[in-house]
């Protein structure tokens, strides 16, 4: 297997001398480009890709073009459909559908008793009528609030 590449002395590396600031800026640029990849890709290739970038820069490849190549690669990586990502999307869609069904069923279930208790005239002798309460001796009517008087078997009851 071929060797990693030319071994250059420390004096030729971009990390030394007066250009240290530029070199660290360049390294930062490549690092940012590598961070644009999905985590799965970074776990697999991240360390190797950073090392490869360092070797290429040492060979004289402009760091900008390396960073650009990684950025374009990251864009392609995000846009390429992967089976695992597709599976996750399907699982999410199923989860959302199940949640919506659950919410709908819950709403229906809560609406059923309310409908059962909807205002239909009670069969018994009790009667309700809305409007101002007739003055009943011993009862103080609520201020400004319409009252319903239930007349039940001859006894008045406000509700």
């Amino acid at each position: 297997m071929p060797e990693a590449g030319p071994e250059t002395g420390p004096e030729t590396g971009p990390e030394t001398g007066p250009e240290t600031g530029t070199a660290s800026g360049v390294a930062r640029l490549v690092e940012i480009a590598l961070r644009c990849y999905p985590a799965r890709w970074r776990r697999r290739h991240g360390a190797e890709a950073a090392e490869l970038a360092a070797l290429l820069i040492r060979d004289g490849t402009p760091a900008g073009s390396i960073a650009w190549s990684y950025l374009a690669g990251a864009a392609r990586e995000w846009l390429t459909p992967h089976p695992a990502r597709r599976l996750r999307t399907v699982a999410c869609a199923l989860l959302v559908a199940a949640c919506s069904l659950g919410v709908s069923a819950g709403l229906l279930a809560s609406a059923a008793p309310a409908r059962a208790a909807s205002p239909s005239p009670p069969p018994g002798p009790a009667q309700c009528r809305s409007g101002p309460a007739a003055p009943v001796p011993g009862v103080i009517p609520a201020l400004g609030r319409p009252q319903v008087i239930i007349r039940e078997a001859g006894h008045d009851r406000s509700c």
Partner: protein, 112 residues
Amino acid sequence: MSRQDALTEQDVLRRVGEASVLILISLADGPKHGYALIQDIKELAGVELGPGTLYGALDRLERLGLIDALPAEDRRHPYRITAPGAAALRVHLDSLERVSAAGRLRLQLGGI
């Protein structure tokens, strides 16, 4: 289906792009890791592969089962061509050879 159609159908490398074909050619004589691949392809075809292009092509070839990643050495993953990869490369190179021969013949007939 004609013989030509059958051969075209088998040529899975028609749609994978030049970088992938160059990587397979480079791996045909033995496993290599990323940096060695870039150097070899530069020497072989005069094409300087960007590292982003390289990893994209390696992932695609691996998904297609045309190459395998070997256990990492230090931080580098060497790759090797698989048997289906070698077969696909052979079919593709045969197809290129036919097209190349036809092109040369036409140039000759055209007297250019």
